[in-house]
Symmetry: C2
Subunit: 203 residues, 2 copies
Amino acid sequence: MSSTRSKTSKRSSRGDRTRERLLNAAVELLEEGGYAAASVAAITERGGVAAGALYRHFPSKAELFVEVFRTMAESKLGHLREASAVPGTAVDKLDAIVREFTSSSLSQPRLAWALGYEPVDPLVDAERLAYRQTYRERLAELLRRGIEAGELPEQDAELTAASLIGAISEALVGPLSPVRGERVSTEKTIVAISVFCRRAVGA
Amino acid sequence: MSSTRSKTSKRSSRGDRTRERLLNAAVELLEEGGYAAASVAAITERGGVAAGALYRHFPSKAELFVEVFRTMAESKLGHLREASAVPGTAVDKLDAIVREFTSSSLSQPRLAWALGYEPVDPLVDAERLAYRQTYRERLAELLRRGIEAGELPEQDAELTAASLIGAISEALVGPLSPVRGERVSTEKTIVAISVFCRRAVGA
DNA sequence: CAGCATAGTGAATCCGAATTCACATAGTCG
DNA sequence: CGACTATGTGAATTCGGATTCACTATGCTG
């Protein structure tokens, strides 16, 4: 494909930079108006190229979004990993993760909504599902450690993990949804969710 | 509109029956292949009429689905109400509701998926959101009673309610999703979810 | 500079639905 | 029966985007 990137790394070629700009444009549009706002026309316009150019860099619009989602999810995953590096018991780590997840979602509502819930495209949905699964596995692993350590009661770690993710998501939907109702204090929300999760795992 | 239904009730007119058949066809198709399978063509074919006929009964496909969703949600709401009529403490009622919700979803996976999660149409999504809100309020009300009665610890009932719904939903997604993984025992799943919820509310 | 590949252009095309509409047909009422 | 309304027909139209493509521009390499 791009024989030009053979420079191992160095300064990126024109094409590579356009590619980047398109990806960024997609993210921005997602933040601003969700998937509906992110048409090929809009993306390419913001990227400063004509519509057709997109197809020099991605086989389809869907594939572009797969990449967007993959990137963002990977980054979020990184943050969660960092958060869980906090010293302490498994429960402490769990709590750190929950808080990180909650607060980052609250600070970029529309994006979080788009990443986690908004109907996009079958291809992208699959990607999303896959990452959700990854989150779940991470959590489950942590839970298992907590159980072994006797910090948590015996339970189906996978199911609990899934439930936790669902609980956090749903609790956030109100605040996240473009159709926002009454705005509640962010800090209060985080604490409430954190408490709920602690109780839910049996801490 | 239908001056014919002036017979107060009696036997339904031809039109009314076609209307019913279309609604049923839509539900069936939803069960079988999700929203994707429920095109106007498919619905009308199954209903035994030509495509255009649909528009004699509904202003648009979306409106038809709004009605489908409303009906099903109303029915589910009814079942939950029945379930919560079980004698006992607020926690008992809560548990009954959780079990009812879980088991009914598991027995009609595809339909539950379509009703609860599958991206459909903005108009329908709004309807769905509204009912979710209703579920949430019901649950919250119950929780509040439990808190007052001292059966449950002090907490934000609304948030807990939302979290519970999210937890159940997500825990079911695996089993519900068309992309089913390993099949787990229905009974086990119900129990596990029930236990999780009890813990989560602080029972 | 010639030559070739990579990038970019943007109007035309495609595509898969929903929706419309001019024309039947069935039902009802006086 | 005759007229008038409710229903049904289904091919043609619409529609909103994604995608293509013949052509042009850019930039590197020898």
